[in-house]
C-alpha cells in the first residue's frame, strides 16, 4: 500500500521539457531513501497548465509543483515525502497564500473549469487499464451491453443533445441514428477522427495521451448502438506518445476481454485498429479520412452519399471526433439529464480548448458551453502578458474566424460563434494582442490552407492561391482598393464552390478579419502603413533627435550600416539602407527609436 502518489505529467508538453528525466530522478531518490515501497510514482496525462510544465502533483495533499527541474527532486523527496513539508518555493505560486496552501480548484486557472472529457487526464496512469476501471471505466459499456438495447443507447445520446466536437457541431445521436438500419445484416464501421490538424490545437492529442480507454470504451458503445464490430482510430503519425498509449490501451482492453468476442457475455463482438495518418490536413475531412484508411490517396469526395449510408469500404460508417467520444461513457453512466445540466440549451455539455498565443496560462482547459471569451482569456488564461491589450481571438483555426475585443463577452457555444462569423472548430483558441497585424494573421492561415489544399477541386486549389497573392500584395504595400473588392468576391466564390470543408472554410479568416478590422486593411492600402508594426515592407524606423544622446550603440549594432551620426550628436537612419531588422530599437537605452 502506498501512502503517497507522485503524479508526473507525461503529456507531450511536459515530456518535451524533461518530465521523463524527472520521473527517473524520483524513482532513484525514493529508492535511495528507502521510500520506494511507500511512495508510488505515476506517469499521467496532461494537467492542462502546460505553460508551467513540467508538472508534478503529490497526493494525498494535492500539492501542485510547477516548472520542476531534475535538481529539485531530491529536495522534494527529503522534505515533502520524508518529512511531510511541502516545498513552498517550488509550488505553483497561485496555490500558496501566506501560510496556507490552497487547493487547485481555488486557483484562477482551474476555478471555472469543469472537467468531463478531461476528467481522468492527470488523475490516472493511462497505461494501466485497472486505474481507468477504478474511476468507473468500462462501467458504461457494461451498462449498455447488459441493461440497454442499441436503440436505448442512441436515444440517450440523442436526448443528451451532444453535438460533434470536431467542429461541425452535428448532433451525435442523429448521426448514429442515420447509420443504425439493418443491424447485424450488413458490415458497418465505427471510426474515430484523431487527425487533429489545426495549428495550435492539441485537445485530441492530450485526451488520447491521458485517457485512451475512454475513447475505446465509447467506440465499443457506438459499435453496439449501430451494429458494427470493427473500429478504426485514424490518428496523426506526428503524435508518437498518443499512438503508443492508445496501442497499449487497446492491447490491455483485449487482454481483459473488453475488446474481442462476446464482451460481458452479451454476444457482442468489437475490435479496434489504429491507422496512422498520412500527414495531410485534408485527411481530417471525413470522406478523405475514410479514403485514406482504405489505402488510397487522402482526397475528399462529394456527398451524398453520406458516410452513414456509404462510408468506409462502401459500408455504413460513423465517424466522430476524439472529444465527442470522450463524453459518451459519462452520458451513458449519468444520463442525458445530467449532461444537459451543463452548458446551454442548444449546446449542452462542456468544450475543451487549447489555449495559445499571447496569453499567460497556455494550456488545455475545459469549460461549460456558454462561458464567455472574457472568462476564458482573463480569468482562466490569466490575461495577456506584458500589460498588452487584448485585440482578438481566433477560434476554429484556419477554418474559423476571429472574435474582436468588442465581442469579448460573447458566450462560447456553437450558435453564438457562427452568428458572429466565427466557428467553434475543434477547439484551438489563439489569443492575439495589440502587436498582431490582422492582415498578417489572415495571410498566415491562408498560407496554411494553400499548402494543405489537396488540389482535387479548382476553387480551392487555385482560388486560395490567388487570395493569398492578393493579401501579399497588400502587406507589401502595393495593394489597391480594387484588390479589396477582388478579395471579397473571390472569397465568396471559393466558399460556395469548393468540394469539401477545407476549401469551403478557407476564406473565413480573411472574411472575418475584413469584417472586424477593415480599417487595418485600409491603412495598409491607403496609408501604406501597418498599424501593428508587423508587415516589414511598410515599416519605417525613426530616431527621435530629442531623445537620442548619440551613444552610437545603435550604429554599432546595425547590420546594414544604415545609421549615421557622430558621438554625442543625434543619429539618423538611412531608410534606403535599412533592412528593418529592429536591432537598433532593441539596443537603444533611451527609447529614442520608434517604428511605424
Amino acid at each position: 500500500m502506498y501512502r503517497n502518489h507522485v503524479m508526473i505529467c507525461g503529456g507531450t508538453g511536459c515530456t518535451s521539457s524533461g518530465s521523463d528525466r524527472i520521473a527517473a530522478a524520483f524513482e532513484r531518490e525514493l529508492e535511495r531513501h528507502g521510500l520506494d515501497s511507500e511512495v508510488k510514482v505515476v506517469r499521467t496525462g496532461c494537467f492542462g497548465l502546460c505553460a508551467l510544465g513540467p508538472i508534478v502533483v503529490i497526493y494525498p495533499e494535492g500539492s501542485f509543483y510547477s516548472r520542476v527541474k531534475e535538481e529539485h527532486v531530491e529536495w522534494i523527496v527529503t522534505e515533502h515525502l520524508l518529512k511531510g513539508r511541502p516545498v513552498r518555493s517550488l509550488l505553483f505560486d497561485e496555490t500558496v497564500d501566506g501560510e496556507r496552501i490552497k487547493s487547485l480548484d481555488q486557483t484562477g486557472f482551474y476555478k471555472k473549469q469543469k472537467r468531463v472529457a478531461l476528467r481522468n487526464c492527470g488523475v490516472i496512469n493511462p497505461e494501466n487499464i485497472e486505474e481507468y476501471i477504478a474511476f468507473d471505466g468500462y462501467a458504461a459499456l457494461g451498462k449498455a451491453l447488459t441493461e440497454m438495447t442499441p436503440d436505448d443507447v442512441i436515444q440517450t445520446v440523442l436526448d443528451s443533445g451532444l453535438r460533434g466536437r470536431g467542429g461541425g457541431g452535428f448532433p451525435t445521436g442523429r448521426k448514429w441514428q442515420l447509420a443504425c438500419a439493418d443491424r447485424g445484416k450488413v458490415k458497418k464501421f465505427v471510426c474515430c477522427n484523431a487527425d487533429e490538424g489545426d495549428p495550435g490545437a492539441f485537445m485530441d492529442r492530450s485526451m488520447l495521451e491521458g485517457d485512451p480507454h475512454a475513447v475505446i470504451e465509447a467506440m465499443a458503445i457506438a459499435g453496439y448502438a449501430i451494429g458494427a464490430d470493427k473500429g478504426y482510430v485514424y490518428v496523426r503519425a506526428e503524435y508518437p506518445i498518443a499512438v503508443k498509449r492508445l496501442q497499449i490501451a487497446i492491447n490491455q482492453a483485449r487482454d481483459y476481454g473488453l475488446l474481442g468476442e462476446d464482451i460481458f457475455g452479451s454476444g457482442f463482438n468489437f475490435d479496434i485498429e489504429i491507422k496512422l495518418g498520412a500527414g495531410a490536413f485534408v485527411c481530417g475531412e471525413e470522406t478523405a479520412l475514410m479514403t485514406s484508411i482504405e489505402g488510397n490517396r487522402g482526397e475528399p469526395r462529394p456527398r451524398p452519399p453520406f458516410p452513414a449510408k456509404k462510408g468506409l469500404f462502401g459500408r455504413p460508417t460513423i465517424l466522430n471526433n476524439v472529444e465527442t467520444y470522450a463524453n459518451i461513457p459519462q452520458i451513458i453512466l449519468n444520463g442525458a439529464e445530467w449532461f444537459r445540466s451543463m452548458g446551454t440549451e442548444n449546446s449542452p455539455g462542456t468544450k475543451v480548448f487549447a489555449l495559445g498565443g499571447k496569453i499567460h496560462n497556455t494550456g488545455l482547459v475545459e469549460v461549460p458551453m456558454g462561458t464567455t471569451l472574457r472568462e476564458i482569456v482573463e480569468e482562466i488564461g490569466g490575461g495577456i502578458p506584458d500589460g498588452k491589450k487584448f485585440k482578438a481571438a481566433q477560434t476554429g483555426g484556419p477554418s474559423g474566424g476571429c472574435i474582436p475585443a468588442e465581442l469579448i463577452d460573447t458566450p462560447i457555444d456553437y450558435d453564438s460563434l457562427s452568428k458572429i462569423g466565427s466557428m467553434m472548430g475543434s477547439g484551438g483558441l489563439i489569443v492575439m494582442d495589440e502587436d498582431t497585424c490582422m492582415v498578417d494573421i489572415a495571410k498566415f492561415f491562408l498560407e496554411f490552407t494553400v499548402d494543405e489544399s489537396c488540389g482535387k477541386c479548382t476553387p480551392c486549389r487555385v482560388g486560395t492561391k490567388r487570395l493569398l497573392e492578393l493579401l501579399e500584395k497588400i502587406t507589401s504595400g502595393n495593394g489597391t482598393m480594387r484588390d479589396l473588392e477582388r478579395i471579397e468576391e473571390l472569397a465568396e466564390f471559393v466558399k460556395n464552390n469548393s468540394l469539401c470543408g477545407l476549401g469551403q472554410t478557407a476564406p473565413n479568416p480573411v472574411l472575418s478579419t475584413l469584417k472586424y478590422f477593415r480599417e487595418e486593411y485600409l491603412a495598409h492600402i491607403q496609408d501604406k502603413r501597418c498599424p501593428a508594426g508587423v508587415c516589414k515592407a511598410l515599416l519605417v524606423y525613426k530616431i527621435d533627435p530629442d531623445k537620442c544622446r548619440g551613444c552610437t550603440l545603435c550604429a554599432r549594432n546595425c547590420p546594414a550600416d544604415a545609421i549615421m551620426g557622430s558621438v554625442r550628436n543625434p543619429h539618423s537612419i538611412d531608410t534606403n539602407k535599412c533592412v528593418k531588422c529592429g536591432a537598433c530599437m532593441d539596443t537603444c537605452r533611451f527609447g529614442a527609436i520608434s517604428k511605424g
Binding site: 501512502r3 494525498p60 511531510g84 476501471i133 477504478a134 457494461g142
Partner: protein, 123 residues
C-alpha cells in the same frame, strides 16, 4: 470480461489504491508528525501501519498525510486526527500497534482511543 461482477471486483480492489488522489469536505485527515524528532522516535512505521490497516479494512474517506514538527518533540510519534466539524484529536507516543487500534476504534467506529491522546498525559 464476461460479467459486470468481474468489472466491479477490479474496481473495488483498485479504489483502495486510487482514493489517495481524491478528497472532499467530508474527508477525515490523519496527520503524522514526520520531522526529524518524529522520524527518530519511529513515526514512519506508525504512518505505514495506518495506511496499510486502512487499506486492509477497506476504509474510504480518510486521507493520511505527514507534517513537520509540531513542537511537542518529547511526545513523538504524534498523530493528529481532523474530523470535519469536530475537535482535533492528538495522539502521542504512538506505535504501530497503538495505531492499528486507533484505526479500528477512531477511524472506523468514530470512538477516539482516550488513553493514547495528549489529554491523558496530564491526568
Amino acid at each position: 470480461m464476461k460479467s459486470l461482477k468481474e468489472l466491479e471486483a477490479i474496481r473495488d480492489r483498485m479504489r483502495q489504491t486510487v482514493n489517495t488522489r481524491e478528497s472532499d469536505s467530508n474527508t477525515i485527515r490523519v496527520v503524522v508528525g514526520m520531522a526529524t524528532c518524529g522520524i527518530s522516535a519511529g513515526a514512519r512505521p506508525v504512518l505505514n501501519a495506518i495506511v496499510e490497516e486502512l487499506a486492509r479494512e477497506n476504509v474510504a474517506g480518510v486521507q493520511v498525510t505527514q507534517t513537520g514538527c509540531i513542537g511537542i518533540c518529547q511526545h513523538e510519534p504524534v498523530v493528529e486526527v481532523y474530523e470535519p466539524g469536530k475537535e482535533k484529536v492528538t495522539y502521542v507516543k504512538m506505535t504501530p500497534e497503538k495505531a492499528i487500534r486507533m484505526v479500528h476504534h477512531h477511524l472506523m467506529k468514530g470512538e477516539p482511543v482516550e488513553e493514547y491522546t495528549i489529554g491523558s498525559l496530564t491526568k
